[in-house]
Symmetry: C2
Subunit: 440 residues, 2 copies
């Protein structure tokens, strides 16, 4: 049996591992058009910011590791088409290659900024590690940087530029950073800390044109022109479904490939995973995409196991998220207040400012927790947090609480560790839940 | 209506607040034999260790705060008896005082070491903040310290002595520190780090006698005599039920006052809360006591609300715990392997060593997670962890997972935040759960 995987990101590597583990005797071939597989693009901004020493650190395993593990990986080899009837892929320079089972992990692209000049050389998109290495060299001589869109990756890049000493400008049409994800009261301290890092925040400002003559030299915005040595475009992720679309595989409302809970597509013997697919949200069942590398890897595993003849289901997602933004860590799960309001999801908001250690123990930090509760079911609709310590762990907790439909009352009166150097008398999430209870 | 609260610890203060909140017009009087209320004894070792500047920091609110809030607190006033039929307490120097409702929050005592010399002056027990202030002055001139029992408070005190530069000796009959709570594979790095702090670990060593002439001068052990300038006794906590016992209130198998889920005792109009009571364990329903200040406070609140005429239930506990031990943070929930084995609770063990950040992000720390799973129900029996970051938050997560009876499969495939500076691709708890799944 030959299992073919297209894509060498988290989904593809997860799929190859899942398939190999389930069908050790199968031939599992992975095709990638790039020079590397299985690295962590999430780490790229931190190399630019000098928190991480070198790009090579982001590569989880070297090529020899995969070779030794018996993984057949075809680097720099573009798959140009899929024929689902003939069970073949078309490989550039090689022609048709048969597959018994196929997993698509074709990932994502940045949304087209949709303004003139988007084709200028030098516009940088954070994604490929080799391009990042080249881009990093430019930073040594650059003086001014513009980041288009205060998205998560945009914030990480702007922070990196500030660490590198560049004059950094943020251009974003929203009223506050990450306005399509995060609430203003969560982002307020973040925005303040970005300003403190010296980043010029041009909010409620849209890009009208990229300026340059062959090479980008700046950005014309609704509030004037910004000249820059480097320009980073950090627009939303959109699913890369070129191959799937051409093959007639069904695409959903978000633009992602439709899959069932086995990650199987509409085409027989074809699975898909990662940023190219859409999957149902755990609460609303509405399809979503553009999740994390961790999601992509898990989905890839499931797709690979099933392609290998096993049986594993991928569950609907609650999407816990977290990141460092300025001097804060922020995070949450599912819907914030802005999004829940926009979508008409009924909710009451519980809010509290708690602390990470006993308040008499030096070095405690504040943790702002905001919980959204469905007044009917008394379970979580979502939550958002800003703090320094324990944001990722609390986002994981809230995701599990949502998935298990734990009543807000049980979160309000949850047991928590109280030990002066590591935990306060009152758990901040419990305080926020108590605040919500008062409004129910 | 007059509500009387006996005891000014976390339970008593919680009860007074709960009663006041529920019955604002009631007279709520709190009696304490000590000079202060509502301070955090948990913080005392860290003042000795100079992490916290001064003892006054441990006092959450000053006397004026309680006065202003309309809380009637009778300091340094001993309650000598309770007459449940007459609904009276006997107050030293005042005589009988009527109550309509009574809440006992009489706390705990250290278990009697049960060896000769336990009455020698200078044997120090960590509890009262004024005694701690006096004891702290001795430390400036002391050279050698002995700590009896490697209990949690013993470990915190020994660490404090090491920080103060004292030659510090630990005497404990167990094979490893905290051997009645924590598993050896969790405590192994802790024990190593205590040794690295310069603490002399005399394990499998019992105290035979406290040595001295009026004043303690050292400890005679099963392995020889240790002379010392200061000796701390850190034996187990035992419920202080002197008043309740004398009043004929029912005491349970652990020595704690029996209460129902409203924290009501066997006597009409008498509630009890905190370390003087016993409550059922969430999994085994077996009564336990000696929990944390956070538990005492919550129980006090429930007792106070109910005494005030409200209605609130206290749920069975899973007992998440956590602390700093040496250079590690350790923690867990419910049963470890040693205890589960001793009690004959069926379990399989899942174990994993994970990390706190992306493995390429500098400053990550190891997190060892050990999960015990009931092979029948596939839910948690308990867990233990050793690490640096996120131990308290994960213990809270596991307590919630136990309480909600979340299947181990759902923990194995849980969603988790992956963001290089704050979370790794694989959540350590999920890895441990996956390891357990392999054995089920």
């Amino acid at each position: 049996m030959r299992i073919v995987v297209v894509g060498g990101g988290a989904a593809g590597i997860g799929a190859q591992g899942g398939a190999k583990g389930t069908a050790p005797d199968a031939e599992v071939v992975l095709y990638t058009e790039y020079e590397d597989v299985g690295y962590s693009p999430c780490g790229i901004p931190f190399v630019h910011g000098k928190e991480i020493e070198k790009f090579e650190d982001l590569i989880l395993q070297d090529k020899k590791f995969y070779e030794d593990a018996g993984f057949d990986i075809q680097y720099m080899t573009k798959v140009e088409g899929v024929d689902t009837a003939a069970q073949e892929i078309k490989v550039a320079g090689e022609g048709a290659v048969h597959y018994d089972r196929l997993v698509l992990g074709t990932g994502w692209n940045y949304a087209d900024p949709g303004v003139p000049g988007s084709d200028l050389a030098g516009l940088h998109y954070v994604k490929n590690i080799r391009r990042a290495m080249e881009f990093d060299k430019l930073l040594d001589d650059a003086k001014v940087a513009v980041v288009v869109d205060a998205s998560p990756i945009g914030i990480e890049m702007a922070t990196a530029f500030a660490h590198r000493g560049l004059e950094t400008h943020f251009v974003d049409p929203g009223g506050w950073p990450m306005s399509d994800i995060a609430d203003p009261d969560i982002m307020e301290p973040v925005e303040e800390s970005l300003r403190e890092l010296g980043i010029n925040m041009h909010m409620q400002t849209s890009v009208e044109r990229f300026v340059g003559d062959g090479k980008v030299r700046g950005v014309a915005t609704s509030k004037g022109e910004l000249l820059a040595d480097v320009v980073v475009v950090a627009t939303d992720k959109t699913p890369n479904t070129e191959l799937a679309t051409a093959a007639g595989i069904k695409i959903g409302s978000t633009g992602g490939i439709i899959v069932d809970d086995a990650m199987a597509t509409s085409a027989e013997n074809v699975w898909a995973a990662g940023d190219c697919v859409e999957i149902p949200h755990g609460l609303t069942k509405v399809p979503i995409n553009g999740l994390s590398g961790s999601h992509a890897y898990s989905q890839g595993k499931v797709a690979g196991v099933n392609a290998g003849g096993g049986e594993r289901a991928y569950q609907a997602v609650q999407v816990p998220w977290g990141m460092v933004a300025g001097t804060w860590a922020i995070g949450g799960v599912s819907f914030g207040e802005t999004l829940a309001t926009a979508l008409g999801i009924p909710h009451v908001v519980g809010m509290a400012d708690g602390i990470s250690k006993a308040r008499y123990y030096p070095g405690w930090s504040q943790i702002r927790v905001k919980l959204l509760v469905d007044p009917e079911t008394r379970t979580l609709v979502g939550g958002q947090m800003a703090g320094i310590e324990g944001i990722k762990e609390r986002a994981d907790f809230l995701a599990m609480a949502m998935r298990a439909k734990i009543p807000i009352d049980d979160i309000a009166w949850m047991e928590n560790v109280y030990s002066p150097p590591i935990g306060a008398l009152n758990e901040p999430m419990a305080l926020a839940a108590q605040n919500a209870l008062g409004k129910l």
